[in-house]
């Protein structure tokens, strides 16, 4: 078993006819991901890389009732719409790649998804991959390999970097989830950790954090309380970032006295987590931990 998605997952791509949507549909297909349909309003009836395109999710799901995951490449202005559309046709995992979605909109659809029992990954995230099985996201597939390490991360490129290092060290991955870099995201570290805790294939977990917010502190608390029992290695980006400056995206800013690098590392180490100073140390720490 792996987490949330596997080789049988059937995917709908929302915003499939756009530049990024079309490009990554091709990459996902060549990775082996089962993409059964795409949706772009007004483009119904066309095809993208042999994938049939529909005007609405309702039509897509009627034609492909076995679809269970959607991935969204829709521009920020229309992305929330696409999320609600996916939830309302019963999609249970929605991966939101789009960045720059207004945070009030994210707030609203994340709350709505929770009530409907839908898992949102993102927004502003690289997606989810179960190496060798399926890739529902924009990560470079060759950086990953099948194995028994789980990854959860707030950063896209850093995830690839770490997976690549693990892969080169012979440590494959069960699933890697990029939870997204926005201040408000769907699935959080602790929610993802519950899934990894239950997954028998996952033997160890890598947490890739970032300054800002308190997801890392909450993860540490969960470990300390004994609710996550597998070995964990962490890395937190932004050790040398000056406080108060917004580093790239809104998630990575130290505000209101929370989210500083030192606080996160202290909390993680207190919970017994090994914290790497640079990402490339992670494979060795994992090997020592398992």
């Amino acid at each position: 078993m792996v987490v949330l998605v596997d080789e049988n997952t059937k995917v709908i791509v929302q915003g499939i006819t756009g530049h990024e949507g079309s490009f990554h549909t091709k990459l996902m297909l060549s990775y082996g991901t089962k993409i059964v349909a795409g949706v772009t309003p007004g483009k119904g009836g066309t095809k993208v890389h042999e994938v049939p395109v529909y005007d609405t999710m309702e039509e897509a799901i009627t034609e492909h009732p076995d679809a269970n995951v959607s991935i969204i490449f829709v521009p920020a202005k229309f992305a929330a719409d696409a999320v609600y559309e996916a939830i309302d046709v019963g999609i249970k995992v929605v991966v939101v790649i789009t960045e720059h979605i207004p945070v009030h909109e994210t707030l609203a659809f994340v709350n709505y998804a929770k009530k409907k029992g839908t898992v949102i990954i993102g927004p502003n995230c690289p997606g989810i991959i179960s190496p060798g099985k399926t890739k529902i996201g924009i990560m470079p597939g060759h950086a990953f390999s099948p194995g028994s390490v789980g990854i959860i991360s707030r950063s896209g490129t850093l995830t690839y970097e770490v997976a690549y290092a693990l892969t080169r060290a012979g440590l494959g991955q069960t699933t890697a989830i990029g939870v997204g870099g926005d201040p408000v995201v769907g699935i959080t570290f602790t929610e993802a950790m519950e899934l990894f805790e239950r997954d028998p294939e996952t033997k160890a977990l890598v947490i890739i954090g970032e300054i800002g917010g308190d997801m890392e502190e909450r993860a540490a608390k969960m470990i300390e309380e004994g609710k996550f029992t597998k070995p964990v290695v962490a890395f937190v980006a932004g050790r040398t970032a000056p406080p108060g400056k917004r580093m790239g995206h809104a998630g990575a800013i130290i505000m209101m006295g929370t989210g500083a690098y030192q606080d996160k590392v202290k909390a993680l180490e207190k919970a017994g987590v090994k914290v790497a100073r640079i990402p490339q140390e992670i494979p060795d720490l994992i090997k020592k931990a398992i």
Partner: protein, 380 residues
């Protein structure tokens, strides 16, 4: 986007909140005429409209006991830089006698994914200071966005900061309006500090609103904010922004170009780790094309602090061949490598990228550590 005090107060007024009588003075206005037209009587307060925190302590708020004094203060404050920034506007307000200064704000609690009301009976200082000095005085209440901030939420908060009777009703009306502004304008923060207690009502002596940049397209009525006015950006950061680059100025000599906030920060961390010092953070973001890379490289060539450049790319949505193309184009157009460059490429289309660079004569690294060590070693 941060709003000026007078803008935030105008919005609150639009939502039915009573604010102190005031008049806005632009540079070149006749303050005497403006004050008279507005019917303002001394005592008055003249307030520098700048967006930096700690304006009062920095001398940006002055009291005037006569109109003449206020006019003098206008001249003085227009010329007085507050943390490096001279104001374009001054707000002249009726000085309000008050019994107490409260704190009230609404922010988004990212963990709970809900709007969060913060209030304290000890206003007049920063929330960080309150949190340090009177942590027990801070009342917190999460709002279910489906229900909204209702009268009873405001009353629960009001009672906990010691309000009663008619003041409680006034506070409730104020907080409801603050919440509406926060929600309608996609607020990251809506705050009044101090919120004055005046007889049986509350009156916002100061007001702040920060609007989510991603939502600005919905709020064209707010107009635009020149980066120069914000006090948040250095000259080079403003220049970078005008070119669409996500750039933060730092103090070292190693220019950083990377993709993704996490990787860019980590690239900084790596350079530090091996003894170097970054001159900047420059994040190409997701899906950078050749054009953006070209702009970034050209920018760091011009940016004097960067003596050498470290380009660290791990391709996901960004394609390494596009990065390589952009770099090569930039070098061709700018007449070669004006500053030494170390490149590391991995991920999507990295082989193609490496090939393009090799044709131009650049050997790109695959391993980030080797690359970081190499850039640190470079003598410039």
């Amino acid at each position: 986007m941060k709003l000026f005090e007078f803008e935030a107060k105008n919005l609150l007024k639009k939502y039915g909140v009573e604010v102190p009588p005031s008049v806005l003075i632009a540079k070149g206005d006749d303050p005497k005429k403006k004050i008279e037209e507005a019917g303002l009587e001394p005592p008055l307060v003249v307030k520098s409209q700048v967006l930096v925190a700690g304006r009062g302590k920095a001398g940006g708020i002055k009291k005037a006991n006569s109109i003449d004094e206020a006019i003098k203060l206008v001249d003085e404050l227009f010329e007085k830089p507050i943390k490096g920034l001279k104001p374009s506007y001054l707000l002249i307000e009726k000085a309000i006698e008050h019994e107490a200064e409260l704190y009230a704000a609404i922010i988004i609690d990212r963990s709970e994914r809900k709007p969060l009301v913060l209030a304290s009976k000890y206003g007049g200082m920063d929330i960080e200071e309150i949190a340090k000095e009177k942590p027990e005085s801070i009342v917190r209440l999460h709002i279910d966005p489906q229900v909204g901030l209702r009268g009873y939420h405001a009353r629960i908060v009001g009672k906990k900061i010691g309000l009663k009777g008619k003041v409680l009703r006034s506070f409730s009306n104020f907080l409801s309006a603050l919440y509406k502004v926060f929600m309608d304008y996609d607020g990251d923060l809506a705050e009044s500090n101090p919120l004055a207690l005046v007889g049986d009502k509350v009156l916002p002596l100061d007001a702040r609103l920060i609007v989510d940049d991603n939502a600005l397209y919905k709020h064209s009525d707010l107009g635009e904010r020149k980066l120069e006015e914000t006090g948040e950006y250095t000259e080079w950061e403003i220049k970078a922004r005008s070119q669409g680059l996500t750039f933060v100025e730092l103090d070292g000599d190693t220019g950083i170009i990377s993709n993704g906030a996490g990787l860019t920060m980590t690239t900084m961390d790596l350079v530090y780790e091996f003894g170097g010092e970054p001159s900047n953070f420059l994040d190409l973001g997701g899906g950078a094309d050749a054009e953006l890379v070209k702009r970034a490289v050209r920018f760091l060539f011009e940016f004097p602090k960067a003596k050498k450049i470290f380009i660290n790319i791990f391709g996901g949505i960004t394609r390494c061949d596009e990065v390589a193309k952009g770099l090569v184009q930039a070098l061709k157009e700018l007449g070669g490598m004006k500053k030494p460059i170390v490149v590391r490429l991995a991920g999507t289309n990295d082989e193609e990228g490496r090939k393009i660079l090799k044709e131009y004569g650049i050997e790109a690294y695959t391993d980030a550590i080797e690359a970081a060590k190499a850039v640190v070693k470079l003598q410039v």
